[in-house]
Symmetry: D2
């Protein structure tokens, strides 16, 4: 197995964790119902044009913002920084890089900086949010999956290695990665990057991009995942269950993927591991099916091909083509016997 | 929805529950490993030619017998009767019916009667077994799925309505059933039959038969199903996980299906309901996908087509053909996007 | 260990299971809140004087009736019989015994017979109820403990052996029992009696009686018990959690006991075992602490001393006094260290 | 509620997390059995004088070291630092403070520094350990509680405020705290301190000290806690279950406390929350019973009074006496009814 050439760098400013995602949706009521009744998020504030939601344990005002729109795109993904000083340091850092970084006044957020990464992903760095009550112990309000907090994003990008460079410079470390053997060359297909001490704050895999493949919330317990699937069935969201339950090889998480009413994909998961110590990243061959699912059940093709575009981002195709890893096996299973 | 024409009859003798299944396997060690380490059964006795297993809560000597053989068939399925009187009543009853019923001396079992039902399924009626310790509270010996007890069988038969007649006369009641609309005729496709007060001791669905589609053990908890899948992955049994986890519409059970090293299929499930009161059976249209899985995930084709033959039984094809219900949807999902 | 002298008798009529309990409560709204939000029962019907509730999987109209009253007593406990014929057979049977048995017109119930057992417990035998939708798969309506169905009653009586005689004659079998050594005599302290094939439909233990010690509902999963405790804490019902979670030695059930707003005690439990086969009952020495809790945590004294009186029943003290089994150990633990 | 006067300081070196605890035990085999079969830890190495154990997800060589001894004491608790540079920075820092800090050669550990904190607790700072396989996905080896990783320590000290000062200077933040009203003065009774982004790496509460009250491992799932209690009962460890299961108000964790064969206390818990953002610490009145257990069940007295001494540490009594918070309520419950 090839070892990735990771540099652990002193970051120019302190990113602490994945923070919030802003989605355009076409029907606020339909999306609100999906995220409160199935996912179990709590509404912090709402008006005719937006709904602000947080997980049951979250004290920050929102980790998901739904905005009424005519298109189903992702507006931006957010990263939390330690404090306001980090925002100003970030501004200086990006200026040195020749990037346009703009301070923005964002409802319910403290000092916020907007910038695009080197493949065009719109990012928001934010130092604080209005506090709201942690609902962690308000068990009478648990619904559906009882999602606790936003954990990470996964994006498709046309060049994983290049994208990784941007985040490595910000102090993101690689927990795991996948590679593919292309004419005797090791080709990096995916990187799992983290700041907060578990396997991922942001993940990049190869594909037409940049696109948001999914964002992920943690659940308190495996049973909450089963309850989520059961509530999905009862509420008519069975067609929204795209994949799982299953067990990822990478990260070790028990997972389920749902598509929201606009097709945005959300992962609900629990039980991954602590990744705080400096240690070599764990590599996986893309051809190893246990990478994706230890239980042996392959993803549907659309899990690999469909994703959410970012508003105003231009889609780029990967130069080196790697076929989605599970189509053949899936069809073989379907046609077997 | 058509209502099934059920007769609740005073039974000629008292069948109390599904009791035990006897399987021919080609490699006793391989099968023993599968059933103890993954399923969690306990070995009651074994020798070079057979392994006798029971679930963790079972006091009877065995609910599963593995016999060394050159072929992977099912020898018979067993039903428990209340006491020895019931064996003699059964003998008289089958004699009146013109059926050959033979008293047999079976290791570790009390008085046992052998007979074939009206579609050729080899049955054993048994009034008692040697007792063994209930391992229910020996939690340190729980392994894999921690299977508690045998619950039911599912068989494919060429004529469901005819087969049902045999069991209705023995006092089996219908909890649920499926039908298909064939040229404006209601065609009975499956019946869920019970004696012990939950949805099923024996189930018949239409197909080339008689064949044993699966036998099923209960698990104590939903988490034990997730643990079973995880242990399967860890022990190299991921290819044996054929279907699930999912939630049946019929019976409401949370289920997973595994294939053992010889391809015999076992269902691991929990949480179904009590069916004691006299009440109309619940009917399902075969075309309703929620019948099979409330979460919307279809079975693979082989789940419908593959099953275990009974030793010396002749296979009969159904006269009225009904296509397996989920192929198209499954392929559509596979090819989607 | 002494073996109990059980007779398995052909019953004069067919009792199939524990059916329903009728409680007098002083504040209908307070009780309704407790049983719907914490226990998770569903309201089938209600008016100013009564609330009728059922478990999530129950098809019968009610398993719990709350009646507005000035006193907190139990009106009666109910048993289901197979069909109307059994009601008439029961009427004849009790008449032969010289007992007053009265046919009654009870809302939402089919043909119903009222009688008192030989220690004065008011019983209702009922052959049917109005059907209601099984909510089993309506997971979006699961609340608190998500109680599935009524399972059994436990009563204190002054003479366990005498009371047992009444129920043995009706075909109830003993699954487990407790005895105490009193001056070299084996004294029967408790019997666990069943008709439906699990360890209990009705349990009698020694104490001033007759009194209803508790009634019990099954939960789908261990997690639902933890959720129940958490919801109790969140809704202000923490003082109502009297005992548990713990694991009974007898029956092997995972249990929790709550007191409702009037002090009526409800057990929430899951995972016990099948008791269908004829087998010797399992005996426990009252002095064995693992009988009560395998985890070693004793009950509070009030768990042994407090219970609900039946309306118009006269309380009788046991002739042979046996001290509640856990007081000393409990205090020892409290004062230890 | 009084707000604690927290300073978030730039730390002189980078402590990343609680790392390992070293215990003296009198019978290595007895302790090994307890920690592998009940807690579920994995043995990394062992010889006649010591056993090195790690949790199922841990990659570092050990988080628990058992050393054969004639006394049941705690040798030291360990903290992980980011890298070797941090060890040297720590050495300099403590030298400036006038503290004796010694580099030590510790088996299976990288560069290690030994020092005592300002109340005499023996600490080891360590920059790396020999790697071992993460057993996270080796589910066939899960046993008992299936403990995943060491999470935190709780210590009794005679002066909480003074002790806190030492750790605040190292960059530890307060997530929650308890205070008591003593003659109109707010007296700090406990602080929950963290470096790794959840509620605690080390906790200090008031009592004769310094003593190790407990160390805590995380479990993957609530069900693993129930399984732990069940396995404890089956293996004869029921008397070792000292408290729980219950739900802490502070941290929101589902908890159980066991005493090992030498009386060292271990907490097994799951589901607490993320504490990364800068936010005011959460204060609790010591008199509020929901602080300790949301379900309302008080701890036994010995939970408050018994703890493990550190080798060669001198015990100091608190100057300001605060009675253990739950004795009265516990006895009231015991004597009630």
């Amino acid at each position: 197995m090839p070892q990735i050439d990771e540099l652990v760098l002193e970051p120019p400013f302190n990113v602490t964790r994945a923070s919030h995602v802003v989605l355009n949706v076409r029907d606020l009521n339909a999306s609100r119902h999906f995220y409160t009744e199935l996912v179990g998020l709590v509404v912090s504030d709402e008006d005719d044009s937006a709904v602000y939601l947080r997980g049951l344990e979250e004290r920050g005002h929102h980790s998901l913002v739904l905005r009424k729109s005519s298109e189903a795109t992702c507006v931006c993904i957010g990263m939390r920084v330690r404090n306001e000083d980090d925002i100003y340091k970030a501004q200086d850092y990006f200026a040195e890089q020749g990037k346009t970084a703009t301070l923005a006044d964002v409802p319910y957020q403290g000092l916020t900086l907007r910038v695009r990464d080197n493949v065009g992903v719109p990012l928001e760095f934010c130092a604080s949010m209005e506090p709201r009550e942690r609902m962690l112990k308000q068990y009478q309000h648990y619904r559906g999956a009882s999602a606790q907090r936003l954990d990470h994003y996964q994006l498709q990008v046309s060049d994983v290695r290049q994208t990784w460079g941007f985040y490595q410079a910000l102090g993101f470390r690689v927990s795991e990665y996948t590679y593919s053997n292309i004419s005797e060359m090791q080709h990096l297909w995916g990187v799992w990057l983290q700041r907060k001490g578990n396997p991922h704050d942001i993940v990049f895999t190869q594909g037409p991009g940049p696109r948001l493949h999914h964002f992920a919330y943690t659940l308190p317990d495996s049973n909450d995942m089963i309850r989520a699937c059961d509530v999905a069935g009862a509420l008519g969201y069975a067609p929204s269950l795209e994949r799982g339950p299953g067990r990822h090889g990478i990260s070790g998480a028990l997972f389920t993927y749902f598509r929201d009413p606009d097709g945005h994909r959300i992962e609900l998961f629990n039980t991954h591991y602590q990744h705080i110590d400096l240690e070599p990243a764990l590599g996986w061959d893309l051809a190893d099916p246990k990478r994706a699912d230890q239980w042996g059940l392959p993803a549907q093709n659309k899990w690999f091909t469909e994703a959410t575009s970012f508003t105003d981002s231009v889609l780029t195709q990967p130069e080196i083509r790697v076929d989605p890893p599970t189509l053949e096996r899936f069809l073989a299973l379907a046609n077997d016997g």
